[in-house]
Symmetry: C2
Amino acid sequence: MGFCFNAQFVGHYYSTFDSNRADLAGLYRDNSMLTFQSAQELGAAAIAQKLVSLPFQKVKHQPVTTEAQPTPGGGIVILVTGQLLVDDEQNPLSYSQAFQLSKDQAGNWYVFNDIFTLV
Amino acid sequence: MGFCFNAQFVGHYYSTFDSNRADLAGLYRDNSMLTFQSAQELGAAAIAQKLVSLPFQKVKHQPVTTEAQPTPGGGIVILVTGQLLVDDEQNPLSYSQAFQLSKDQAGNWYVFNDIFTLV
């Protein structure tokens, strides 16, 4: 089941990020963790606040590679590498992002671990 | 405890990789997974064989960023971005690598998930 799901998740995540970052809050839970360029946030509210406050108006992610594996606890770990364009910049920035997805008590997938790094 | 441990793991992993790849087998177990440039391997023996058979004699990894978070099952997820030099090449290649570390039944840490991608 993993790979269809992951492709969907990655596409959904970045399309949400690029259209309305505030909606990303629904993909996290209170125990979710974000490391964004070494800054650490805990919980959906703090993570969404961090993402919404990033200092650009427009962003367009272009994931290039996506690889995934099942994890010991029944989750999924995903490594994405790609490029992104911010505002009216012409030069894309390269990034790497690792996710671990888990299921909440209702059986819905959410982002437990999120590590984002510009490279 | 996480961050000292992770720094040690990453340093140990790449120094082993760069000095004697065959010794990496000890860092994996039978249920470990490797995705190396989209090729998938399962288990310490197959993973070590894959790494030993990579077509270069010398390699030098230079990790640039290392970020880590605890995972739901008591493990650690790590995202490394860096560069590597192969044989006598002068131009480094950029790579990203995601690890998930778990403890085996004896309480020793090992690599459960390993996803390596040149970028």
